[in-house]
């Protein structure tokens, strides 16, 4: 299995999608095992690709920019458009980023599929679900192996379509259908930008091939303003897909889909497509520095925004969704300072622990049929395995050494400090601490303390092994994934320069993975502080204290010292953090969501509503419109001369 056969990876699940979508009724178990088997083959193949890549790297064959490995010319015709030849070639391309993405996508997809066997048992359209999952895998794999922008765009849309189908899987539910539509349309708005950006890039370079476009851009082929506008358009597409401000509103709503889908699409794979795109086009962004700065600040805004919103949300999946938004912001921050390494590394680790968290929340929902954290609690007694795995995922997310999140988050903070200075660094560091707080809150409210809804608690049970095992595997990855960045590990795997340099950088910047002791220690301390803060506020004592104060003011003086602390927390969290979060939430709800997204949809709808009344149904009015039309044309025509 060499790199030139990489097209097989998307081809296998695509064929399975077509077959299973049509004929899942004809096979036992609706064909779930066939789909899973196919994906397992893809996992194996993706490791073969990795080996081949590693081999050619070791042999010194690999040079970025000339790895257009397989191309199929789709439309090739003399049209007089560019060089008298419209050539639309579908080509695949493999480099470090691709290899990394292949591993992430295939592994997480496989895990989610296995998990779904348990989670989706007994659902109607069970076979269709697996078929679409396979279709999604195909589209996502095609996205990451495509060597030209047109193929990338095609798979980009196919991924969106699969996401639409999966979010709307419970189409009987009105909210699910609405959410699916919202996700689809919001991302499509970004996609308009992407398509325009692609056309603009093509107009300059005369090719859709990514490497050719990069060469053209690096050679200064595009004008400065032109390129800035183009890359901003492209980034609009990326921001839409990756739920960056102000497009982030669709992601929490997308939680209406089945939880494994959230784990796969809305944590590990599809939402990182935007990160992947920007990383892939980074050499071009390096030329358009204004656009790159926009990426940085949008990323920063989103990271902070997602984290604060995560603090006040009570739906377990929505908390995770905001967390994802925030973490994607981290990745864009890294990209904004030009570090593909840090961004891709965080993407890699985040995929594992966030899908683990989602699957864990799925396990909870599966057991209790409840997803509001305030009504849960104490589940650790009923679901020990889930609890353990969820805590591992949470610690990884919070960035506790030596779990995966620690390494990649530190890397981002490091490059940010080097690249953008102190201000952004402080904001992002604070956001990292916030991450620890909301994670702690989520864990405490869900699994610890006393059960608040006895019925749900009684109903709860540990999930079956078919669900726990994939989670355990992901938890393992969440623990160890960070180590691959260490040079000894890389050398042990056969990459002479350390894996970090190869896989995460594509060689274009020569930026190897580093670890800065100050930042590492600082980050760990702030994460721990966040956890402690979370414990104090949500572990139950504070709550009791509040009740005590209200019930009996006489004891107030006695407890004053405790309450000073409490007040401090109360103040910092209620007034500052929660206040800020409320403001942000309000802004998000009314300004971005209502005015920006729904507003533009409503505006369009309203414009249509007004316009339609010109259609009066009366012939003389119609004739009048024609007459005015022709007179205006005539007058303007004569007036122009």
């Amino acid at each position: 299995m060499g790199m030139e056969h990489v097209w097989l990876l998307p081809a296998i699940p695509a064929v399975l999608f077509a077959l299973m979508g049509l004929f899942n009724g004809l096979v036992p178990r609706r064909g779930d095992f066939i789909v899973i088997l196919g994906m397992a083959v893809v996992v194996v193949l993706s490791f073969l690709v990795l080996l081949d890549f590693q081999g050619s790297f070791r042999d010194g064959h690999f040079a970025p920019g000339d790895s257009n490995l397989y191309s199929f010319s789709w439309v090739e015709i003399d049209t007089g458009v560019v060089d008298d030849l419209l050539l639309i070639e579908f080509s695949t391309f493999v480099d470090g980023i691709t290899v990394l993405m292949l591993a992430v996508v295939s592994i997480v997809t496989l895990m989610v599929m296995i998990y779904s066997v348990g989670y989706m048992r007994g659902e109607v359209r069970y076979g269709w679900y697996f078929a679409v999952l396979s279709g999604f895998g195909a589209a996502m794999l095609m996205l990451v192996v495509s060597g030209n922008l047109l193929l990338l765009y095609l798979s980009w849309e196919a991924v969106g379509l699969a996401s639409y189908l999966l979010i709307g899987f419970y189409w009987e539910r009105q909210t699910a259908a609405e959410a699916a539509k919202k996700a689809f349309i919001t991302t499509r708005i970004g996609d308009v930008g992407l398509l325009i950006g692609i056309i603009l890039l093509w107009r300059g370079a005369g090719s859709f091939d990514i490497q050719e476009i990069i060469h053209f851009a690096e050679g200064g082929g595009y004008g400065e303003t032109y390129l800035t506008v183009t890359m901003l358009m492209l980034f609009a597409g990326a921001a839409g897909k990756s739920a960056q401000f102000p497009f982030h509103v669709w992601l929490p709503d997308a939680m209406e889909g089945p939880t494994p889908v959230s784990a796969l699409i809305h944590a590990a794979t599809m939402v990182v497509a935007g990160v992947y795109l920007v990383a892939r086009m980074m050499p071009v962004f390096d030329v358009a520095l204004v656009a790159r700065d926009v990426v940085l600040y949008i990323g920063l805004t989103t990271a902070a925004l997602g984290a604060t919103l995560g603090l006040v949300t009570s739906d377990i999946k929505r908390v995770l969704a905001y967390s994802t938004v925030s973490q994607l912001g981290f990745m864009f921050v890294a990209l904004g300072v030009g570090s593909v390494t840090a961004a891709m590394f965080h993407l890699f680790t985040h995929a594992f622990f966030k899908s683990l968290l989602f699957l864990g929340s799925g396990s909870v929902i599966h057991a209790t049929e409840e997803q509001v954290v305030e009504t849960l609690g104490g589940l650790r007694r009923k679901m020990p395995a889930t609890t353990t795995l969820f805590v591992i995922g949470s610690l990884a997310l919070a960035g506790i050494v030596p779990l995966a999140g620690f390494w990649s988050k530190d890397e981002i903070l490091l490059v940010l400090q080097d690249g953008a200075g102190f201000g952004p660094f402080v904001i992002l560091a604070a956001t990292a601490a916030l991450t620890a707080i909301y994670t702690t809150r989520l864990v405490l409210l869900t699994f610890f303390g006393e059960p608040k809804d006895q019925a749900a608690y009684d109903h709860a049970h540990e999930s079956p092994a078919v669900m726990i095992l994939p989670m355990a595997l992901l938890a393992l990855l969440a623990v160890i994934a960070g180590f691959v960045a260490l040079d000894p590990v890389g050398r042990a795997l056969g990459f002479t320069g350390g894996i970090g340099e190869v896989v995460f950088t594509q060689g274009h910047e020569g930026h190897a993975f580093k670890l800065d002791a100050t930042i590492a220690i600082g980050a760990t301390v702030s994460a721990l502080a966040g956890i402690v803060l979370g414990f104090i506020y949500w572990s139950g004592t504070a709550e009791r204290a509040v009740r005590a104060r209200q019930w009996s003011p006489e004891f107030h003086d006695l407890l004053v010292n405790r309450y000073y602390i409490d007040h401090l927390y109360q103040f910092t969290i209620d007034r500052v953090v929660l206040g800020l979060a409320t403001v942000v939430a309000y802004f998000d709800r009314w300004v971005v969501n209502e005015t920006g997204v729904d507003g533009s949809a409503q505006g369009i709808s309203f414009a249509g509503y007004r316009l339609k009344f010109f259609q009066t149904g009366r012939i003389p009015n119609y004739a009048l419109a024609m007459a005015i039309g022709v007179i205006v044309l005539a007058l303007v025509a004569v007036g122009r001369t």
Binding site: G80, L86, A158, G168, E172, Q174, I199, R203, V630, V638
Partner: protein
């Protein structure tokens, strides 16, 4: 004048179509006496059309020629002959059940479809204004009749009246424009006009006025804003197959004519009309797509959506060039396939339910999943989703426009195609999300409906995934105008 080519054999496919029309009319007149099945009429129509289609293939390897300098017989003509005849076959196959139930004058129905196809073909093939005009009228007259032919529906009469009266006004405007162009250039052949324009009548007020009236008249036929207002009403009032036919053949024929007229005859006056078409294109895209959002009747929704599509096609005429010519032809082919798929599916739906309201599509995914799939795919294709025909054809179209320096127009078009997704999703949502009405159970399609929609369904994917053959045909055809 004796050097003209009067080889009537060049018009063979059309003679076959006329002959079929005559046979259909005669058989219908004596149907009661001859005791023949009513399904014989569509059968003969399809048969005649197929023979004509085969006959038009005969001209593929002949050198481009013309009939008396009026009608070109070349790849361009062949392309549209095949396209229109295929459309005719699809519509007849997709609608014969509908016709059996709802149309009392069936012989007339099929005969006028055949006759209007001739009009459509000659609109594409005409290289002279008079021929072009009379072909337009042949098509329009057939459609006036067709729209009013649903005699059990009072909307049909109203729609017909609107169409015929406004059509008359538009004809008068078109003719006034043609007369001025004839007067200023002294010729009615495209070549003669082009030659005269080279000598410089361009830009005089009279000529500009002629152009304005010409654009107005053709804008009506193409339903460009603000000459579009007949469209939704006629679409809604007409019997469904005629609606399908207007949205497919009539539109494509108008654009075939415009491409030849503006590409050959008026090319030298580009500066005078480009802005007219560009502004019409923008207005058309915006108005069509915005009003579509508000519709509740599927025919009306498709009417406005087709107005939106007209904007995209006008864009190709605006930027007329070899590239946008072949892009337009490709787009027309893809659009026809997609549009017919929607309409024939809707006809099948109507045959079952008797309803045209979008609301009544609820739960179609449960009661007839195949039909729901076809409609969904076709609507996605219309909105320009990748992997489907609509994406490829629109992409090539927008790209050609961008290449000709109309990037802003292409941008508006991209944005408006996103808006279009909004209302297509409304239909799709009804089918997949809403519960079926009480008492609705699964139902079956007739085999012919399965066949027709199935072929078109595959066609959408074929164009979407492997457009090269059609693109080559379109390119060869377009080269006849610009080569």
């Amino acid at each position: 004048m004796s050097d003209l080519n009067f080889e009537y054999g060049l018009l063979l496919p059309e003679f076959i179509l006329v002959g079929s029309a005559a046979v259909v009319l005669m058989l219908d007149a004596f149907r009661a006496d001859l005791r023949i099945s009513r399904n014989l009429l569509p059968a003969i129509t399809v048969l005649g059309a197929l023979i004509a289609g085969v006959a038009s293939l005969l001209y593929l390897d002949r050198d481009p020629t013309d009939f008396a300098q009026l009608i070109a017989v070349d790849h361009y003509t062949t392309f549209f002959r095949i396209l229109f005849i295929a459309t005719l076959v699809a519509i007849v196959l997709g609608s014969y059940e509908f016709v059996n139930r709802n149309i009392t004058h069936q012989g007339e129905f099929y005969a006028l479809l055949l006759a209007s196809t001739i009009g459509a073909i000659y609109m594409a093939a005409a290289r002279e204004l008079l021929t072009a005009y009379i072909s337009i009228e042949l098509l329009s007259f057939s459609l006036y009749v067709g729209v009013s032919l649903a005699k059990n529906d009072t909307r049909s009469g109203e729609a017909g009246l609107k169409y015929v009266l406004l059509g008359g006004v538009a004809s008068a405007m078109l003719l006034y424009g043609l007369s001025i162009i004839y007067g200023t250039t002294g010729s009615t052949t495209y070549e003669g006009i082009a030659a005269a324009l080279e000598d410089g009548v361009v830009g005089t007020p009279a000529f500009l006025l002629g152009l304005a009236f010409l654009v107005g008249g053709l804008g009506f036929k193409a339903s460009a804003v603000p000459f579009h207002m007949w469209t939704p009403d006629a679409y809604e009032g007409a019997p469904l197959p005629i609606t399908a036919y207007i949205s497919a053949t009539s539109k494509a024929a108008t654009f075939a004519l415009m491409l030849a007229l503006f590409g050959i005859a008026l090319d030298a006056a580009k500066a005078d009309w480009q802005w007219m078409l560009a502004s019409l294109a923008v207005a058309t895209m915006v108005v069509g797509n915005l009003i579509a959002i508000q519709q509740t009747n599927i025919k009306r929704l498709l009417a406005y959506s087709s107005i939106g599509q007209v904007g995209f096609m006008l864009m190709a005429i605006t930027t007329v060039s070899d590239a946008s010519g072949s892009a337009l032809l490709l787009h027309l082919a893809g659009y026809l396939i997609t549009n017919l798929a929607v309409f024939i599916a809707v006809i099948a739906f109507y045959n079952r339910t008797g309803s045209e309201e979008i609301e009544d599509f609820r739960g179609l995914a449960e009661t007839q999943p195949y039909l729901a799939l076809v409609i969904t795919t076709a609507l996605f294709s219309l909105s320009g989703m990748p992997l489907l025909a609509g994406f490829v054809t629109k992409f090539v179209l927008f790209q050609a426009a961008a290449e000709e320096g109309f990037l802003w127009l292409a941008t508006v078009a991209v944005i408006m195609s996103t808006v279009s997704l909004y209302y297509y999703l409304k239909v799709i949502r009804q089918m997949y999300v809403a519960e079926p009405a009480d008492g609705d159970s699964r139902w079956r399609l007739s085999p012919i409906a399965y066949l027709t929609t199935g072929v078109l369904f595959l066609g959408i994917f074929l164009v979407g995934l492997w457009a090269t053959p059609i693109f080559e045909a379109a390119d060869g055809a377009s080269a006849m105008l610009f080569g």
